[in-house]
Amino acid sequence: MFSDYTSAELLSIFAMQGFAGLILFSVFVLMALGLAIIFGQMGVINMAHGEFMILGAYVTYLISNLFATYLPSLFGIYFFVAMIVSFIAAGALGALVEWSFIRFLYQRPLDTLLATWGLSLILQQIYRSVFGAREVGVTLPDWLMGSVPLSETIEIPINGLFVMGLTLVIAGGVYFLMFKSRWGCQVRAVVQNRPMAAAVGINTAKIDRITFALGCGIAGIAGSAFTMIGSTGPTAGQLYIVDTFLVVVFGGAASLLGTIASAFTISQAQSTMEFFLSGSMAKVLTLLTVVGILMIRPQGLFAMKVRK
């Protein structure tokens, strides 16, 4: 298929294709990080993860409208405000959910799956009642629009760059929280041995709530970022959930690093295949490969062998 392209063109194809892969990668990481914390660290299967993202998206939508009407002068920076608010909103909702029912289900992961699925239905309907069934569009500040030309053939979308940057920041933040902060240490303690952690005076209930809230908060930020590339509708959250779970599981549930690695593998695989095959088949093949590998290596890419 390349016969009719010059080598320069080919080069630019691969450059741009690789970049497309990187954007997809960032998207996956954003989607998966929150889930990796909730599922990986707490063993809760949050089927409403997508809806938490959409919450972030709607918040962004509201904020952008606020700025457009009241602070048009500051419109350029509304996005940062929006992300913070999204984080808080989704986090708060997360804490509420954790308090209202998740905390009763820690011993029954499969039941959290059902309960959170129920939650997702309710959230969807709420969105529909509040924002209407139609998709809503978020106006981007101009500086996020367009692309930077590297060469006359290679152009890099700015919002793509932005998403990647954001991903770096958040991933870094999470890493710091989990592995460098006292809180993160407590979280890991609770994960590894709940009774013991409780015995040494860690307030496990509090830790759980914060962890869950953090996971949802990150989902909120992700949703906020997605308004730049994706759609915002009551049911949009559903689109992400399977991919997200696969990314997390594929990476080896307990390991954040694994999540990132698997996000990278899957995204690169998919965007490469998308270039050579039709979109649908690429998607099918990617999922099949992931499932296949999971069947051979159920513990995922990065799982520690432990002595039981």
Binding site: M304, K305, V306, R307, K308
Partner: protein, 247 residues
């Protein structure tokens, strides 16, 4: 003397978890009808050895020969079928089934899917169950739900679940842990009577109890055999005193 003559021959057994060698080049031999007790400080790798023998953990290297059959390559249930029974550290029984059902499930018949589907509770089963129930002092609790038994009784029930399989090699992980003095004595009797015609490996911390039952003792330390022999010999071994009995 060839490994054939032993019931169990463990040679050069090693398993490592991400580099950490929980069991390191371990070798020991168990005779017909012998009660072998394995002692050692926590983390010495005692339980891991049992896990390796019954196939719960796969060995990194080394061999485990049971009546000349290599176990390291076999699946758990195959190992059980070949005659190895294993009791877990804290009683592992089916709380929501009755004592009878617990024993019945362990009865070595209808272990395939079809077998289980068409398994019938005939006289043979009932008789076997009642016999065992008698040996483990539970003949009166046959129809109580196992969850309601005392800790000691649960331990016995699990032993009973092994007995009904008529294994040639019985492995018990801390069988008297958490038992009252009276219960220990009865357990000791129980062990002595059930060892007829089979070999037993016991992991135990309670020295008194070990004295009562052990034919030979293996002391493990950091995944290796530290010392082996009769209780007296082991007790007098300075190395053992230093790492274990001393404190």
């Amino acid at each position: 003397m060839s490994t054939k003559d032993f019931v169990l021959a463990v040679e050069g057994l090693t398993v490592s978890f991400d580099g950490f060698k929980a069991v390191n080049d371990l070798s020991f031999y168990v005779d017909e009808g012998e009660i072998r007790v394995i002692i050692g400080p926590n983390g010495a790798g005692k339980t891991t050895v049992l896990d390796l023998i019954c196939g719960k953990t796969k060995a990194t290297s080394g061999s485990i020969k049971f009546r000349g059959k290599e176990l390291t390559k076999m699946t758990e249930h195959a190992i059980v079928h070949s005659g190895v029974g294993r009791k877990f550290q804290n009683p592992s029984i089916y709380e929501d089934l009755t004592v009878f059902e617990n024993l019945e499930i362990s009865f070595p018949r209808g272990r395939s899917v079809a077998g289980a589907l068409f398994f019938r509770r005939d006289a043979e089963v009932v008789q076997a169950v009642e016999e065992v129930a008698e040996t483990i002092f539970l003949q009166d609790q046959l129809h109580t739900t196992a969850g309601l038994l005392s800790h000691g009784q649960k331990q016995w029930l699990e032993i009973g679940m092994l007995l009904i399989q008529k294994p040639d090699l019985l492995m018990l992980d801390e069988p008297v842990a958490g038992m009252s003095v009276a219960e220990r004595k009865r357990t000791a009797e129980l062990l002595n009577c059930i060892t007829k015609g089979r070999s037993v490996i016991v992991i135990e911390h309670d020295m008194q109890f070990v004295e009562d039952i052990a034919h030979r003792v293996t002391v493990m330390h950091q995944g290796k055999t530290l010392s082996e022999g009769s209780m007296e010999r082991v007790k007098s071994d300075p190395k053992v005193v230093e790492v274990y009995l001393g404190h």
